[in-house]
């Protein structure tokens, strides 16, 4: 079953409707695929992998803010899924289980990258590598990529909440399960993230 990730159906209020991977049928399919994977069915696992690849790619990118090594992290996540499929309790949504693994792997990957960067002597002197921010081309890049700039201003945890809300379409309760923290923490993180996003969005609109 192929999933249309570009599904942009709108309801009567003009808001974007939930992506197709939230439907009950889709969840049932994923549960079956996990069960078959637990039985060693490689075909089922491959299908599950294909279903989740884009979601995981996007998710890990938004959390880690790095393109290099994403596929490696995805494979680490899906390796755990393959190995631990039999331990999936079928209680939570398949996406909660898989994204939960992905969140921890992405955090680990981020920390490793930070450590590598901290250990690197080449980039200790920021002044040499960061040009004058008043340069016109930088302003242009900022305008075109306001979202990139905005995401960089968010903390890893805030990015993860925005990602799971606006990209994955998850409920705050599910996000709290994935991030293993109280629902109010999720709402607070989203609250602060929204403030930053809105400010930069308005700045961008004002400039352009």
């Amino acid at each position: 079953m192929e999933i249309d990730f570009t599904d942009n159906m709108r309801d009567s209020s003009g808001l974007k409707s939930q992506p197709s991977y939230h439907s009950k049928e889709q969840q049932a399919l994923e549960r079956n695929l996990i069960a078959e994977t637990a039985g060693g069915d490689e075909k089922a696992f491959e299908q599950l992998y294909k279903i989740y690849f884009n979601r995981l790619y996007q998710f890990i990118f938004h959390v880690t803010r790095r393109l290099n090594g994403i596929e490696e992290v995805i494979n680490d996540v899906m390796y755990v899924v393959w190995e631990k499929a039999s331990s999936y309790d079928q209680v939570c949504r398949p996406s909660t289980w898989i994204l939960g693994i992905a969140y921890l792997k992405a955090l680990k990957s981020s920390r490793q990258s930070w450590t590598r960067e901290e250990q690197s002597d080449e980039f200790t002197d920021e002044q040499d590598y960061f040009p004058d921010s008043s340069a016109s081309w930088i302003t242009e890049i900022e305008i075109n990529n306001w979202l990139e700039v905005a995401f960089d201003k968010l903390s890893t945890e805030q990015r993860a909440v925005v990602e799971m809300t606006y990209y994955q379409g998850l409920h705050y309760q599910e996000i709290s399960e994935i991030m293993q923290c109280p629902e109010n923490t999720i709402k607070t993180r989203m609250f602060h993230a929204r403030k930053i996003l809105t400010k930069l969005y308005n700045d961008h609109n004002g400039r352009s």
Binding site: K16, F53, N75, Y167, G169, E174, R194, L197, T198
Partner: protein, 237 residues
Amino acid sequence: MSLTDNKTIHKSEHQEVWELLPWYINHSLDTTEEHRVRIHAKNCIACKIELTQQQQIFEKVNQVNLLQQTAQISFAQLKQRIEKQPKVSVISEHDKQREMIQRVKFFYSNFFSFNYLKYAAVVAGITMLTVPFIFSPFEMPESTNVYRTLATSPEGIGRENNLARVVFSEHATSQQIKDILIGISGHIINGPSRNGVYEIAIGNHQASMQEINESIIRLQNHNLVIFAGLTQGSASD
């Protein structure tokens, strides 16, 4: 109820709805929550503006790239990793060795971290006692200046050095196994074990290490061979 109380309740309702707006936009709220937000947003200008703004941001951020091609390549890599993992029992022997090394490392790390001072004192005491003997004119055997190991000893290059362990694919027939072994002048010494491991001798006793290593590489490259490697303790180790 005072006006202040009313205000507090109203503010709290507004705050709660305000916090729920992103999930109203992504349509993940349950019916009750969704209804609550809709009703409040109808009458609250601040929430209405915020809702419009967040909706715009939501649309901007929701740009999706299809990465099916990359997915296929990545999956092939993962499949390779999975295939490598559990099949060969010989690998578990390597794991055992690694575990043993880790245990030894753990022992030494504990030794040095916890008992260092105690043992250092004992060693120092023994050294003090042996000082008179060290300086006494003992007749020492003449040093040959040759560090001799099993590998460098003439006995080391014996029959054991041409032994290898091989695991053939489960699809390989006995005739195919025979042909493969003929190709490297090898013959079965033992096996197959319960795990499908064959012990084979490559060439004769005079076979050089180069010849043996080349035969191992040929075995490793053969599509009906899952694993091939010299047995432990052989010259290449």
